[in-house]
Homo-oligomer: 156 residues x 2
Amino acid sequence: MDSAHTRLTKLPSWLLTQTAAHAHRLVTTAFTQTGARGYHYRLLAALAEYGPTSQASLGRRCQIDRSDVVAAINQLAADGLVERGPDPTDRRRNTITLTTTGHRQLKRLEKRLAAVQADLLAPLTATERETLTKLLTKLLAHHSGTAPDEPTDARP
Amino acid sequence: MDSAHTRLTKLPSWLLTQTAAHAHRLVTTAFTQTGARGYHYRLLAALAEYGPTSQASLGRRCQIDRSDVVAAINQLAADGLVERGPDPTDRRRNTITLTTTGHRQLKRLEKRLAAVQADLLAPLTATERETLTKLLTKLLAHHSGTAPDEPTDARP
DNA sequence: CGGATCTCAGCTCAACTGACATTT
DNA sequence: CAAATGTCAGTTGAGCTGAGATCC
């Protein structure tokens, strides 16, 4: 009965959303054991990579809406993983800083994420994983190339 | 600043969910103009492909939870796109049938979907699209191979 | 003034959970 | 009895919208 799935299973959008749904399932189950969510990881990773940043800038880099950044940072701050401080150069902004416990938590999440990637890509060979990554990157670059990542934040 | 995205953009799970999010965006915007959603299309497509089916079976084939099938079929039936009838051979089941207007709606959605695929895969060559499809299919087959599509529905 | 930032309230969609009655 | 089916109620995560206040 494999020939049954003719319409749906040939649609790239279906394949993408279904595999993404599975990836999302794996990620969330791996994260909820640590009491975190996707947003949390993204923000922590961005903070570790770029250093203290404003919320709006974080939102742009992580593809998270400003309003959602507020809520996520609230939780992270409540858990002591980040700190919200004023930006001396611009009183509109908050400067979000990664704490040491936040950095530790990030390491934990990264470890779990690595396991998820291995699980997710299990059926693919090394070269297949590379081509998949390359193709997805190409797609993403094309479609997010329309909306640049950091338009107004390039150190004015 | 492209070298900035080192951590996130190399994670297959990130790439998958982000491209899927974009695909989902394209699909929903294309569908909402016709007053439909992803669930509706999936169900209509499955009905057109397999003929009259029970709700539980539809859910299994479309990867939609039984409870969500109820709500979606409610809407489709209210719009006259499908019909809910009793199954004479099993009084627990409803037999869902595609109406002619439902079939017409499906054709409309398929046309829009095709445009979305073209838009989504625009940056890829024909062979790249094939390999992407192949890789995603492989992934999906592996991970849904654990949970077969139609376990108890194979004409008992 | 326009534009950016932060915040709040509320919403959609997809997916999932738990419970229940009926029927096989 | 266990298992499947349909139904209902509720929750979650991710993403989005609109509004307001503050500040550059």
